[in-house]
């Protein structure tokens, strides 16, 4: 509340997380303001009340401390910071667990642009188009150095790492355009590695998915920059869906020789109905089949082998691009 009075240009709360984060932010802000005022008030009061001109320097009190008071302050503060910690942890946990039916978009960060790859094969540069009021999950990787995808209006941020996947999710609850920043320093054009999220009403979004056309004439409310008239820069020639592309790769790279997609036994484990499941490895440990596991199994097949199979698969390191990897993973995910 007070923060609203302090600065009028409070950030827009455009996702499910924004009000949640702001609530804790406000709590800490209030606590900080009160603590700060107590300290400064004490300091100023004592300085004027016990000014050298009023109190001679040999007439000061002999006080060496007050253990109970100190312990009281410590205990009170301990309670407050534990509340802050727990509150922050609970909210954070929610940010880390995307719902299973989330709409997935693959993100590739490279110096210095963002690429957004959709399940239907669309590839957008520096522009992420998502439906309103629906959970969206971003599966992100980098082609070179560290990046960090940051959407201030959604209050979310996650570093993007080379050679592995990190995840971010949100429900956008306001239609419009919101800036995307790269928040991890990545070189010369770090501050130009900008993008935007376009949040569309669900029917507009579905129309865009079918026809590739954005609603015309609707102006966005916020930031006053850009309109929705511009058509996104979709890479054309990618008419087939990501999973279909993955199916082609699965055959052309020779995966089918050892891995069945029907559940039939083979030289290697079958890949259908495995995504999201736990498998047992040769060393007895268990691992969840997720994006990172599939990626590792392609690049370093010997690293984590499913129990009952031989370490004989050759590595595909350096032979599969990030886009192709995303397609393969999308294909394996689609095999129900």
């Amino acid at each position: 509340m007070l923060s609203l009075l302090l600065f009028q240009w409070r950030l827009e709360q455009a996702s499910n997380f924004a009000p949640v984060v702001d609530r804790l932010f406000d709590f800490i802000l209030w606590f900080s303001i009160i603590s700060f005022l107590i300290i400064v008030f004490g300091m100023v009061l004592f300085t004027f009340k016990y000014w050298r001109k009023k109190i001679p320097e040999n007439r000061t009190a002999y006080i060496t401390g007050h253990t109970k008071l100190e312990l009281g302050v410590a205990f009170f503060l301990l309670v407050v910071v534990m509340v802050i910690f727990y509150w922050g942890w609970v909210d954070y946990k929610a940010m880390k667990n995307p719902p299973h039916d989330a709409f997935e978009v693959n993100v590739i960060g490279r110096q210095w642009l963002w690429q957004f790859q959709y399940a239907d094969g669309k590839m957008l540069t520096n522009e992420l188009i998502v439906p309103k009021d629906k959970a969206v999950s971003l599966i992100m990787t980098s082609e070179d150095v560290l990046h960090s995808l940051y959407i201030p209006d959604f209050r979310i941020k996650q570093d993007v790492l080379p050679k592995s996947y990190t995840n971010l999710w949100f429900v956008a609850n306001r239609a419009g355009e919101f800036p995307i920043f790269c928040a991890e320093y990545c070189g010369t054009a770090h501050s130009a590695m900008l993008g935007k999220v376009k949040v569309l009403e669900q029917d507009d979004f579905e129309r865009w998915q079918m026809t590739g056309k954005l609603p015309v004439g609707k102006r966005t409310m916020d930031h006053g920059q850009g309109t929705m008239d511009q058509q996104p820069d979709v890479t054309v020639g990618e008419k087939i869906s990501l999973a279909d592309k993955g199916r082609g790769l699965f055959a052309s790279k020779g995966c089918t020789a050892c891995h069945s997609v029907t559940g039939a036994a083979g030289v290697g484990p079958a890949v259908n109905k495995i995504f999201g499941k736990e498998v047992e490895l040769t060393d007895g440990k268990k691992t969840k089949v997720d994006e990172n596991y599939i990626r590792q199994s392609v690049n370093e097949p010997q690293a984590r082998i499913v129990k009952g199979y031989q370490p004989i698969m050759p590595t595909f390191k350096g032979q599969i691009s990030e886009e192709e990897m995303n397609a393969l993973i999308a294909y394996i995910k689609s095999l129900k």
Binding site: F25, I28, I39, E57, R59, G88, K157, K163, S164
Partner: protein, 532 residues
Amino acid sequence: MSGHAEVGNYLTHPKGLRSWLTTVDHKRIGLMYMATSMTFFFVGGIFALLIRLELMTPGLTLMSADTYNKFFTYHGAIMIFMFIIPIIPAALGNFFLPIMIGAKDVAFPRLNLASYYIFIAGAALSVWALMAHGADTGWTFYTPYSIRSNTSVVLITLGVFVMGFSSILTGLNFIVTVHKLRCPGMTFHRMPLFVWAIYATAIIQVLATPVIGITTLLLIMERLLKIGIFDPALGGDAVLFQHFFWFYSHPAVYIMILPGMGIISEVIPVFARKHIFGYKAIAYSSLAIAGISFLVWGHHMFVSGQSDLANMLFSVLTMFVAIPTAIKVFNWTATLYKGSISLKTPMLYALSFLFMFTIGGLTGLFLAALSVDVHLHDTYFVVAHFHYVMMGGTVMGLLAGLHYWWPKMFGKMVHEWSAKISWGLIFIGFNMTFFTQFFLGYLGMPRRYYDYPPEYAGLNMISTIGSWFLLAGFALMAFYFIRSLFLPGKAPANPWGGKTLEWQIASPPTEHNFPEIPTVTGKPYDYGVVKL
């Protein structure tokens, strides 16, 4: 020991440049550190002003993006490794720690001189790097960018590696000095709080710095031999570098702030004519902070992709730092109660420390809370928080200490009103420059940005104008400090009425500090009347 009279003070006896360069006197070594580090503060400050100038307006204002990236790297690396880490322990600590515990020197005077030259060698390597191809990695040297950058990363990290040894040896020297060279009657609980703070700092220096040593060494090997430990392209782990780096660099933040806190604990009792409130709490909270500092490095990495469990542990551990820190702030304020307060310049700086460090500390709570940090991480909020702690804390502590001990070090008083005007400029300038950055950060402006969207322009403009006040304040300060050296007149031995040992000897001190080793019989802050 033999008590024959010594002529002249440590500044003039013995004479000659050679006697300075080969001195093993802790006071002279302290001054040499001070001169060197203040020079780097000046250079680092110039880069800061240039960064602010570039950010005054969006887009290109003054320099290209590559130049900007190099300048913020220089600003960070110079200020951290060459100014703020050595300035209080190695300069003021070297000068006053032995005197305050009644010793004639540190335990290993030659090692002390060696540390200084090692520091110079490391600094020279880093400066060479800046002259060669520069460095554009930021002072954090995150991999894999620092592996790919085509700038002089090897040289600058080698400089950091070498300066690390200097820091280790200084810390080692101080620990042994405190343990073995206290004068008769100087028990641990009679040591001045500045000594406690330097002692806690020295422990961190000894335990944390070797890790930055091995980290920079691995990074150098990464670039020279492609060992691949931090390079995902060669099978390594880029985030591992961040763990290694912050395992040192978080404790290093306390290497920077604890000595500043120590100075505040000296200045407030003297200028309030009060016994410090809760001596033991302040002394042991320094050790507590030193201990906790090793367990919280992961809070720099909440969005780096480390596990949720790690994030939870680091968040809760970080919260604990608040407690010893708050106890200190509370006790300093309580010391003012029923005192007799004189607002001479050292006290002005000490009170500004309380003002700004409290803001710096409280904003740390935002960053320690996991969900809020996800939003604020790597934004200007962090920049503002860091500068409130480092500049509003450490630098204010340093300035309090410089004004407090200047008469002792040089035997000259500074012009009080010039000092007060300079303080005013710095106080206004600092808050203008950095308070605005909290807003910028909340509004989402990421750090290390050369260019920014127009909605951030107004706040950036105010911030830049603030930096000019800082420039004016520091220029005036340099002027009156240097001028004081050439003024006639001599400072008295104890101008502020201090009770610690350094005020019981001549200003400036003689070569061996004490004509006779003192015997301590009481506590360091024995002010006040028991029954008023």
